[in-house]
């Protein structure tokens, strides 16, 4: 087991290296000269002297391999560079935006766990019932609706419409932006913050909640057929004890894995959700930076996302063995 963890950790290094290098070279072939961009924007024609100084300052005249080496040299020292647009250090941007994205993701995962697992569980126990059918259609719908459409619909239904028709204040949620930005214990909304949090959190959670519910249903149905469930029944245990103690515990294993892997869906959907709600986190920052070709910011933030994602995946794989001791990692288990 320890050697397996070590091997996986070692495999992470080349994976992350190649992923980031790919993006580095990808952005290097982008049309448009970054020096022009720094000196005054892509479409205007800035003073050539300013362009030359900008190119000089950021080392943009060096051969690409030198720039590539420099990129890795400073990245390894945890210096993510500075923005082409406003000279802000990417480390600062990260420090400011990451907590906001994490808070949003935290609540999205809570929603996913509570709603996803309970819907899937009910679906499986009452298989082919009306609630099961509704859940099947509902989860398919939640997975098919684009985050930006869902976001706008929720905004319309819970913020714009109530506001237009002068509903009492307590029934109105807020459409966009961060709000007062006041939190207790990092992630718990204070004052009016919940009004700003709730819509983006549900939007972000939609797709993964649907997937978790479907997975939970499938997994629970499979577990219910297992021999140990029949044994539990024949012991005369109550249906509740059978489902909860023997069924749920075993059925949860693949779902937990899914929720972990789903972190990627959450990140991806965060780009859209944060843009729709003008939530100033990492996702909307990446979208903005791609729009303005702000390479250091894109690369820096993507690095953080890729590293986090890879580590979460590793932890999820390991937890699989933790939850189900029958699974042996290592020899023969190709990664």
């Amino acid at each position: 087991m320890p050697s397996y963890i070590l091997r996986r950790l070692l495999l992470l290094i080349p994976t992350i290296f190649f992923a980031l290098s790919f993006l580095f070279f990808l952005f290097f072939v982008l049309p448009g000269d970054p020096a022009q961009l720094i000196a005054g924007g892509a479409d205007r024609s800035p003073d050539p002297g300013v362009v030359a100084r900008a190119a000089d300052r950021y080392g943009l005249n060096d051969p690409i391999l030198v720039q590539f080496a420099n990129f890795w040299k400073r990245t390894l020292q945890w210096d993510l560079g500075e923005s082409f647009i406003n000279n802000r250090s990417v480390n600062d941007i990260l420090g400011e935006k990451a907590p906001r994205s994490l808070r949003l993701a935290f609540w999205a995962v809570i929603i996913e766990i509570i709603i996803g697992i309970s819907v899937g569980l009910v679906s499986a126990i009452r298989r082919y019932s009306l609630s099961d059918k509704l859940a099947t259609v509902g989860t398919a719908a939640a997975a098919a609706v684009p985050a930006f459409v869902l976001g706008f619909i929720l905004q319309y239904a819970f913020a714009v419409y109530p506001q237009k028709h002068d509903w009492p204040n307590w029934m109105q949620l807020k459409t966009s932006r961060l709000g007062p930005d006041s939190w207790a214990f990092f992630a718990f909304p204070m004052e009016d913050q919940w009004r700003y949090l709730i819509l983006p959190a549900f939007t972000l959670a939609a797709v993964s909640t649907a997937l978790a519910a479907r997975m939970m249903r499938g997994s629970m149905l499979e577990v219910m057929r297992a021999d140990y469930m029949r044994t539990a029944r024949s012991k005369g245990l109550s249906e509740r004890a059978i489902v909860m103690r023997h069924g749920l515990r075993n059925a949860l294993i693949p779902v937990i894995t899914l929720i972990g892997i789903d972190f990627a869906t959450v990140i991806g959907s965060a780009v859209l959700t944060e843009t729709v709600f003008s939530w100033p986190g990492i996702g909307s920052q990446i979208a903005d930076s791609i729009g303005s070709r702000d390479l250091p910011v894109i690369l820096g933030l993507t690095l953080v996302v890729v590293v986090t994602y890879s580590i979460v995946n590793l932890v999820v794989d390991l937890s699989y063995a933790w939850f189900d001791p029958r699974i042996r990692l290592g020899q023969g288990a190709e990664v």
Partner: protein, 310 residues
């Protein structure tokens, strides 16, 4: 194109899709006959609803010129912008004064074209790489697995917008982007199937008969590995349409005035929510229904081909 393929009824029922090498699981199950598969599919109301919607959408796309009262970049006469739905303009008019209904109708062409072509491209690349990796094993397999590791470690949407930024904003470049990123999971599914299937006796028999490796791969193994590919491919058309909408929404898709649905939602933006929500609602609904239809058909195919999973 969503009809059930005859090859799919071959005995691949025990192959876990997408999982790691499901070697132990490969058993020649009772072969679901083609007629049974079609019968099960037809009896599934959601799948049939999805299929009808897709056929309807294809008709709309083909006859868009006849259906749409205006061109997709033709201003209404007299020019009215942000008008609500009425008998003249079923879906209202947008900010510029274009007829939203006409644009949604023309948008069906774009979505279907991108969805089908990008999926075809992803399937071609994915099947070639996946079958080579699963069949030959060794360094080809390791290389492929490491390459997919690298690209799958970048969250999909970030990968797609990055590549889209490089390719520029046009319909064709979106097809390339989605095709070039979409093959990764397909190659893993195909690889897993091939790993299991290549150990079966009929492959051994074909080898003993001296058939070429290419013939064994594509004539003997591939038809039996098609089932998960068909299911994934169908759902994938919907997923590609969804991604296209997202890329258009983020401003890396086709340029205005192309009537791409995602772009229409983005152009309406949150500014129109209070005054003219219909500009945003109808193209959004079109994306939603289209994706849902492909998901239902994909699920229906999966259940019809392998009823024990239901």
């Amino acid at each position: 194109m969503t009809m059930v393929d005859p090859h799919a009824s071959a005995p691949a029922a025990g192959i876990p899709s997408g999982g790691e090498a499901g070697i132990a699981d490969v058993t020649a199950e009772a072969q679901p006959l083609r007629a049974d598969v079609i019968k099960r599919f037809v009896r599934n109301p959601l799948a049939m609803a999805g299929l009808s919607f897709i056929l309807f959408l294809i008709l709309v796309a083909v006859f868009a010129d006849l259906i749409a009262p205006y061109g997709f970049k033709e201003s209404t006469q007299p020019r009215v912008s942000r008008a609500g739905p009425s008998s003249d303009h079923w879906f209202g008019t947008d900010i510029v004064g274009y007829d939203v209904f006409s644009r949604v109708v023309y948008g069906a062409r774009i979505s279907l074209r991108i969805g089908i072509l990008a999926t075809a491209m992803a399937l071609t690349i994915g099947v070639l790489f996946g079958s080579a990796a699963g069949f030959f094993g060794g360094w080809i397999d390791s290389l492929l697995m490491r390459i997919t590791d690298v690209f799958l470690s970048i969250p999909y949407i970030i990968l797609a917008i990055s590549i889209a930024t490089v390719f520029g904003r046009s319909e064709n470049s979106i097809i390339l982007v989605l095709g070039l990123t979409g093959w990764l999971p397909i190659s893993r599914i195909v690889r897993a199937s091939f790993l299991g299937l290549k150990q079966l006796e009929y492959v051994e028999a074909a080898t003993a008969l001296g058939f070429s490796r290419r013939r064994i791969m594509f004539r003997h193994i591939l038809p039996n590995a098609l089932q998960p590919i068909i299911v994934y491919g169908t759902v994938s058309i919907g997923a590609v349409i969804l991604s296209e909408a997202a890329l258009s929404f983020l401003g890396v898709g086709p340029r205005p005035p192309t009537p791409a649905w995602g772009l229409m939602v983005a152009q309406a933006g949150s500014g129109s929510l209070a005054s003219a929500p219909h500009i945003l609602f109808f193209p959004g609904l079109a994306i939603f229904l289209t994706v849902l239809a492909f998901v239902f058909v994909g699920d229906g195919l999966r259940d019809a081909l392998d009823p024990k999973l239901k």
